[in-house]
Every structure is written in C-alpha cells, then in structure tokens.
Chain length 435, copies 2
Amino acid sequence: MSRIAIRRLNSRQSDFNLQLDQLLAWESVSDTRVNAVVDEVIAEVKARGDEALIEYTNRFDRMSVDSMQALEMGAERLQQSLASLPDAQRQALEKAADRIRVYHERQKGESWTYTEADGTLLGQQVTPMDRVGIYVPGGKAAYPSSVLMNALPAKVAGVKEIIMVVPTPDGVVNELVLAAAALAGVDRVFTIGGAQAVAALAYGTQTVPRVDKIVGPGNIYVATAKRAVFGAVGIDMIAGPSEILVICDGQTDPDWIAMDLFSQAEHDEDAQSILICPDAAFIDRVEESIQRLLPTMERAEIIAVSIQNRAALIEVADLHEAAELSNRIAPEHLELSVADPQALLPEIRHAGAIFMGRYTAESLGDYCAGPNHVLPTSGTARFSSPLGVYDFQKRSSLIMFSAQGASEMGKVASVLARGESLTAHARSAEYRILD
Amino acid sequence: MSRIAIRRLNSRQSDFNLQLDQLLAWESVSDTRVNAVVDEVIAEVKARGDEALIEYTNRFDRMSVDSMQALEMGAERLQQSLASLPDAQRQALEKAADRIRVYHERQKGESWTYTEADGTLLGQQVTPMDRVGIYVPGGKAAYPSSVLMNALPAKVAGVKEIIMVVPTPDGVVNELVLAAAALAGVDRVFTIGGAQAVAALAYGTQTVPRVDKIVGPGNIYVATAKRAVFGAVGIDMIAGPSEILVICDGQTDPDWIAMDLFSQAEHDEDAQSILICPDAAFIDRVEESIQRLLPTMERAEIIAVSIQNRAALIEVADLHEAAELSNRIAPEHLELSVADPQALLPEIRHAGAIFMGRYTAESLGDYCAGPNHVLPTSGTARFSSPLGVYDFQKRSSLIMFSAQGASEMGKVASVLARGESLTAHARSAEYRILD
C-alpha cells in the first residue's frame, strides 16, 4: 500500500478559518427522489397498515413473506440467540450491559415539589414514556452494542414496552443483535426496516403497536422518514458520520493516537478523524504511525478513503487554542490525550463525550465504559446531548394553588391577560379572587 | 346570540372510541406550496444573507427598509418600552418574571461524577448553550408572557446571548413585547419574521448571528422552516392548537368550569376544550353556564366556533376512568377540579401541566404561577415536556480511565469490537491492556 495524503493545517495560516470550515462542511441532504419515496411509503403504511408493510418488506428486503407473523421474532427465538453465544462474547456483552445500566441509573430524573408560604404547591412530575421503538440497521452496520445503548436507557427510565425493528435483507439475521436484544430486555422484535418500519412505529398497524418515540440510526431513507414523522412521535437526533477529535500534548505514544484516529475512520468513508496538537514534531510522528500501521488494518481501504478525504492534523499554539478550536468543532468524541486532562476540562464547552487521559481510548466508550455511545454528530453537540435516560422520561408541571395564593396571583394574571386582550383568561382568574 | 351546539359524549356509547379519535384528530400539514416557498426562502437567506433578509422582510411584512440597521432594535429602545408601561402592567410583569425565575431555577441540571474502585472516573458535564434564538409572532398573537416564558429559562440556564426575532408587519410594533424582552434580559432584537427569520438564525447572516437553538411559536411558514433547519440548529416542539382538559367531580361552580373552557377556546378557532365528568346533571349545568356566559365574552365569535367545532363534554363512570381517558388524550393543560387532586395525581401519566384543585385556574399558569406555559400539544405530552431550563443546557459524558481500569475494560472492548469486525477499535483498546 502506498503512502496516503493526509491534510496538515496550522492555525497560524491566514486562510485557516476558511480551510477549517471546508473541512467540517457536512450536510446530509435528502434529495427529491428520496423524499418522494419516503412520503409514499409513509402514506401507504398509514392507510393500509400490515398489508403495505409486508409488500414493502418483500420488495426492499428481497423477502417473500405473506403474514406479519413471519416478520416477528418471539422471546424464545431471542433467548436462543443469547444462549448460543460463545462464552467470551456473552460475558463481555453482560459486563458491558451491567456498566451501561449502572451509569445510566445516575441520569434518572426524579419528581420534585415545593410549597410556598401561603400553601401553594409547585413542582414537576417525571414519568417514563409508555412505549418506545428502537431502529437497528441490518447488514454490515448492525451492532449489538447499539442495541444495548439504545434499549438500556429506556429500560432504566421505566419504559413499559420496547419494540425493536431490524431489517433482515435477503433473510440474513444477525444473531449477536438478537442476543443483545434479549439481554437488554427488548419486548418485541419485528424484522422490518426502512421508511416502512418508521411509519409502522409512528402510526401503528394492526400488528405493530404505535410507539411514543423512535430512536436509533439508519440510512438516508430512515433518517428522512424520522424527520417526516417527528411530531406524531418523538425522535432522537438525526446522526451524521461519526467523528473523533484528539487533542494531544505530544507525549502519548503516536501509535496509540494513530489507532484512535483509525477507530473512527474504519466506520465508513465519511467518518472524520482530527488531531490537534501544539507539537509539530509529534504530528510528524503520528503521520509516520498512520502510514506504517494502515497496511496492517483489516479495514484499510475504508480507513484510507476516510483519512484522505476527511482527516486533518492541525498544529496550534498551545492547549488553550486547542480547546477553543474544539469548541468551534463541537466534536462527537473528544479525546484529551494530555498529562492533566482535568485542568483542561473547564475550557471544553461543547462535545458529545470527553475521553480524558492517555489510557482512555475512545473505543472503550463505544462498548463498555458505561456512558452512551449514541452521541451528537456534525457539531450538534452545541445544542444536544448523548442519548440518555432523560430521552425516555418526560415532565409534567404541577400547580396547586391555595385559596389565598389563587387570589393573589389572580390579580396579577388579570392585569396581564387584559393586557393581551384575553378576557376569558382574565375572568377565569378573577373568579378565584377572594372578596 | 343563539344557543350553540356542544358535542356530548358518553364513554358507555359503543362507538365512543371512534368518536374520541375523530374529536382528537389533528395534523398540521405543510402543503407543497408552503414547502416550496420555505425551501426557496431558506436557500436565498443562506446564500445571500442580509440582502435576501431585507428583500423578504420588505415583501412579506410590507416594509421598506434598505439596511439591517433599520431592522434591529437597540437596548435603549427596549428600555424605553419598559419605562413607558403603566405601573400596574409593569409590576404584574415583574411579579410574573420573578416567579418564573424562581420555579425554573429548580430545573437547572448540575454536573456529576463518580469514581470507581480502580480510580476510573465517570460522569456528566452540564453546560449551557452559547446563543439561542427566540421567535415571537407579530400581530394579534404577540404575547409578552410568551417572551418571558421563552427567554427566562434560557437566561436561568446561563445562555450567554439571547437573540429575539419579532416581525412588525406594516411597521406595527408591540410595546408590551419589547418591554418583556427588556425585562427578560434579551440581548438583541431583530424585527424580522417568517421563514426568513428562522433561516437567518439557523445559518447566520452578516448581521444576524447564528444561534444554537430556535424556540418559540409561529405560523405554518415558521413551523415548516423550523422543521427544515432542524439538525443545523436545535428546535423546540412544533406547536399545534392549544387545548385544555378539565376533569371535574361535579362540585366546582359550573361558571368557573365554563370560563376555564372559554380561556382555551378564545385563543383561536382550532383550540380545543374538553370536560370529563362522572356527573351528568353537572355537565348539564356547565352547558347552561356556557350558553349564558358566551354572549358576555369579548371574543365570543372565536369561542363559539372553537366550542362548536372542537369542544366536548364527556360523561364517564368515575374519576378513574376520567384519568385513564386523560392519559389517552395526553392533554397540554389538565385541570383536576376535584376535592382531592393529590389522590388522583398518581393515575395521571401524560400531561403538559397539571392544575390541581378548584382554585387553580389554568390561566394562572399561563402568566404567573411560575411553571412554563410553553407545553406539548396534540398528544405530544406522551413523549415531550414543558419548555424548561433543560432545553437550553446540554450534557457531555465524562470518561477518565485509570491504567488498571483501561486494562480491564480493554479486554471487554476487544472481544466486543472483534465481534463487530471493528479491529481498529479492538487494537486501540488492546494497546491499553497492561502486560
């Protein structure tokens, strides 16, 4: 394998901002054709339910089933997958599930109330959703770890019923994914996918129950369908390509850094791996490691395309500038491969997950550290969070006025309502004013 | 005014479920024409910035400005609006703002960490967004209370810069809205609206800074634009018509209940007011109150249309059935106008805000109770929450492995990564396994 070209940038360059913008530019656009297909699929599933679902599944996944029964996997089938796992895999999956559960327990929101001097009670009631749907891609991108990461937070939240959909194109089933579903306590599994599965979950069919929220990654059809049904159900963020940003002080083994960059790049050709470092000589050493290690990688071709098209090695003045640059990028994964990551942490405002110190490989977070691996991509960490228990809980405001409280506040509400010309509001409040 | 027709339902009727579904049916559909206009506006503002923004504002709001300076209101202008308010209005607005602030302080999320036996640290860092945009409608639906409800949670969250957009069709300015903006600590105000304002906030122009999240209600163009820019920025829920569900045990003054129903109905013709009660004779008395009070209302025409088209008085067997029905509806506003609302509360799973007891008029919550009045509509309380401080904060996972922890977990990650054929992930983890 010949040497690949790797983009080198320096924050002192006069056109650095422009180059950075170009490096980061990413927008997933659903073209007109995709939109038209998705709109039709949703309308058909909404109108004809199971019948349409079976037709689309046969067509898009090259199946030939004639009933929904053939598209549902029972609890026994899932347990069978779990039981047939090799011991090492089963134990690793259980260990990961345990750690994910323990971490997510800490995210659980609790109801609260407080009472004012006049006896008025205010608060917030936190409740789980009744039923959620988890989309799991079929084929090469089917990851058992994703099943755990999507299902366990819902389980911890107290969601009563978890429905998983996973397409089985050409009838190919992923046993590890089914085993993970059994382990995570998924209640029902349908082997459907694409926009038709999203529509079935959003609106319900005779067989597939309507859910309250749909989470999980998918291709452009799935993402477009999720955007379209948003409002009828809740959805999670629409994910872009995976990315890692490594800030290194130049003292970590360069092979480690190269492999950490590869661990994102191997996901797919669009994945993005960026190193920011104040030490030019170290950047040279990382580049040497990349060139030397690349030919030894199983997924060398995907990695090579990803690194050549989307990676960058960026030299900065110091770690403070590195942190500032990181905030502009708002990366999905941020490694602080530095001597004192806790000292740098207060400067980090926007990142999905922060991996601190030289030992904390990002891939540990993907599987078994405990925190979720479903993270905001493409700079959306500016405004969104890792998937968590809070995504499966919702809040209701609680207001209980005492007679005295209602009388006092009735006067305030009356003035404001009349200022807005909403006199039914005003009169409703005024009824509660004591003489 | 002649008597209006009011829908009466009874849960014992054989076709009750069908009738309920029809009553609740609501879907706001952006038609093809709206989509086309919005797509064009967004593309133009993205490409040409201020220039396009000025053109669209002149066209859609019938203005004739030639610079962005004319579309920005400075801090002095806002303070002037606040200073010119009548005392009663200013004091009411200040009282409301104080109570909203106090309540929302309780919603503030805090960072947390915990350390495992081997020294590994896990946690979650909570940070505010940098900059958010608040959309405030112009014209008749411009409410100062909405400015407080949208801006104050962002302020409490610690958002550094709050940008408000409010159209001024034909140059008409709402002084109360500007006063509320001054009181809430809004940083900049642009008098722009529609899809062009949403596009400017989402992508930034030469003058309007790009924000991280856009919140606030708007017409179908605004809602369609928000859906389109979702992903580039965060957005809040897309609101449907306002609704109230009153559960009454039959012991509240029927005039109070009628006026509470009117307070939703007066918002607009599509608003929905529903009473659920186990006492048929009481339902008759509420209907009498409605007929008698309606002609005395300033907004009688809007109320009449809303009540005739979308209201219902529903008889049920008992309060438990009422609660179960309420969960199916998942109302935006739920009044528990009963003797012991706290006894009924545990049965309520889905509602935006719960108003407990006969004194707690919903309109108190609209203005000054403290909790937010931006609430999930159209059944979306099944999966979403009142607007809150949490909508302006985001979380980053924290992971810092000790050498020992990374070594142990590296073994687990290695097994799982190899199970997923992600060998760069595996090797990255394996580097950290101690010999």
